[in-house]
């Protein structure tokens, strides 16, 4: 059985159908990409899959359990971590603290235990600090640990958000347009980080506008256009798919106008 099953997800905003009966599977250990031109409904679908938004219809099963209708922080705790298209970092906190906050889902210290500084909370804190340092190095941010998030360059902020999501030890990591605003070198190091994460056993779903990164890293691609799935398959087939070419060409023509 696949790790993540999206079944007939439909999301309407007023009269607009942003996502129209979309279904696909994500298998364990895959890097799966969801692509499509602007306004294809990628981010809406992404928010539905992570329980940050509710669809009008359809179902999302994660490891066999329904995601829709659950409170999003509980979905995170069940093993689904995400990033945001507009990074949602904790600007006043250092990179290291940001990643430590990401470990919230897999740690226990509450107010009372913390106030009393119980011995196990001290151990837990030490472990979280070490793990956060390791994750920062994994995404190549070891040097930035003590820098407040607000002072970090744009490209590195995206990597920091990925490290923070990994701190929740997710089984599946969902990335919302991780390459947006990155230059070529940054995109390359992002791709490397994705391979390392996948090889460490985390399934990855990437929602992406940019074709370059997706064609390189993903095992399988789902293509959306105007809310509908128009193609699904490995990158080399998707590249040649006439419907996909038409959808992206249409966008280029629109851009030229």
């Amino acid at each position: 059985m696949s790790l993540l099953q999206v079944r007939g997800v439909t999301r309407r905003f007023g009269g607009l159908v942003a996502v129209d009966a979309v279904s696909f599977d994500v298998h364990e250990g895959q890097i799966k990409a969801v692509i499509g031109p602007n306004g294809a409904g990628k981010s809406t679908l992404f928010n539905v899959m992570t329980a940050f938004d509710r669809p009008n219809d359809g179902s999302v099963l994660f490891d066999g359990a329904e995601v829709i209708g659950r409170r999003p922080h509980l979905v995170v705790r069940s093993g689904m971590a995400r990033t945001f298209q507009n990074t949602q970092l904790f600007e006043d906190m250092t990179a290291h603290e940001n990643v430590m906050a990401g470990a919230h889902a897999v740690t226990k210290t509450g107010f009372l235990a913390a106030a009393l500084r119980l011995p196990w909370t001290v151990r837990e804190e030490r472990d979280v600090a070490e793990e956060a340092g390791r994750l920062l190095r994994l995404v190549g941010l070891g040097e930035w640990a003590e820098t407040p998030a607000a002072d970090m360059p744009h490209g590195l902020r995206r990597l920091l958000e990925i490290a923070r999501a990994l701190a929740a030890r997710p089984r599946v990591l969902l990335l919302d347009e991780p390459a947006a605003g990155l230059n070529t070198a940054e995109t390359a190091s992002l791709a490397e980080a994705l391979y390392r994460i996948r090889d460490a056993g985390t399934t990855i779903v990437v929602v992406e506008h940019d074709m370059g990164l997706v064609m390189e890293v993903s095992d399988e691609i789902v293509v959306l256009d105007r809310g509908c799935k128009i193609a699904e398959g490995p990158p080399r087939l998707i590249q040649k798919d006439p419907a996909v070419v038409a959808a992206y060409l249409g966008e280029e023509e629109a851009d030229e106008l």
Binding site: R77, T83, Q88, M93, M100, H104
Partner: protein, 329 residues
């Protein structure tokens, strides 16, 4: 963060502790001790407000009501029910925690700052209740003859002992709060203040954390009330007015975000304003009256000025003086 205490911080805290606890041995002036006891009571309340406002980014305009509930509950339990004082304190804490929970749960489930308005409303209701519930509160005249705090046979029956009791409790409250802010729970508060979406994506139950912080801050106000009533020996509704709630907001705002030391400093400064004569020798009576006449303007303008010119309050100034060594780091 990793258990390496900053030596400068340790020295400053140690000096402050010695200075605070030595005061009754340096002066025998009862008025001065009284005023600083009152400062200590406010420090207990502000410890909770610092967590609520400075870390979790929530505003309460009703903390005077929790302060009052704590005061009346403990006084009533000791006078009318014959309970020992510690039991009165426990009642104060339980009642204010329960009240805080009932108020916070609906108000904090949503985005937006509904808590501020709900607490303002709660404060206004309690203002009426303190006057109307005569059998418990003594009505507009209040309750007098409240016995001194006592633990077993030991009574805190002098100005010096009362001062030590209050500041002892304040020091413990601050220590516990300090442990919280540099823990997972403290990070969760700062995280949801920074970005609610980001915090949710970390698996943080933002409503749960906000409700917990509010309950903690409400019960600290209740605890402060239970100390105040017995130390002063008299309570009346005017001590728990909206004016006091706004004063507490002014302290929290001036104290700033992400800091405990800032709010404590702000509390000392703002609490002393109406008692300037205790710390400025030879202050004329008319000058004092002028200060008291304008104190609400001072609070209001302080709030506005801080939000416009130093949004991080005193806390951010402290962090600037010790770069990379913020107390929450």
């Amino acid at each position: 963060m990793l258990g390496r205490p900053d030596i400068r911080l340790v020295v400053i805290v140690a000096v402050a502790l010695v200075a605070v606890f030595a005061l009754p041995m340096l002066t025998s002036e009862r008025y001065l001790l009284r005023v600083f006891t009152f400062v200590g009571v406010n420090v207990i309340i502000i410890t909770g407000m610092a967590l609520l406002f400075g870390y979790a980014g929530q505003v309460s305009l009703g903390h005077a009501a929790f302060y009052g509930i704590g005061a009346y509950a403990s006084a009533f339990a000791v006078i009318n029910l014959g309970w020992p004082w510690p039991a009165g304190v426990a009642l104060a804490i339980v009642l204010t925690a329960a009240g805080g929970f009932l108020l916070a749960l609906p108000s904090l489930r949503l985005k937006g700052h509904y808590l501020a308005m709900a607490t303002l409303g709660f404060g206004e209701i309690m203002k009426v209740a303190f006057v109307e519930a005569r059998p418990v509160t003594g009505g507009p005249d209040g309750l007098s003859g409240i016995p001194y705090p006592a633990i077993g046979p030991f009574e805190f029956d002098t100005a010096g002992l009362a001062y030590w009791l209050v500041w002892g409790v304040a020091a413990v409250a601050l220590l516990l709060a300090y442990n919280v802010v540099r823990s997972r729970a403290g990070r969760a508060m700062r995280a949801l203040h920074g970005s609610e979406l980001g915090a949710t994506a970390c698996g943080i139950d933002i409503t749960g954390i906000k409700v917990r912080v509010f309950v903690i801050s409400a019960s600290l106000a209740g605890l402060a009330g239970a100390l105040y009533a017995h130390v002063v020996g008299f309570v009346s509704p005017s001590t728990f007015s909206l004016h006091v709630s706004v004063l507490l907001v002014a302290m929290a705002v001036l104290g700033g975000t992400g800091s405990l030391a800032g709010p404590v400093i702000a509390t000392v400064l703002l609490t002393l304003i109406p008692y300037s004569d205790a710390v400025i020798p030879g202050l004329s009576r008319s000058a004092l009256e002028t200060i008291q006449e304008w104190q609400e303007d001072i609070y209001g303008l302080t709030i506005i000025a801080v939000m416009l010119f130093v949004p991080g309050g005193i806390g951010s100034l402290i962090r600037r003086m010790a770069p990379g060594r913020g107390e929450a780091r």
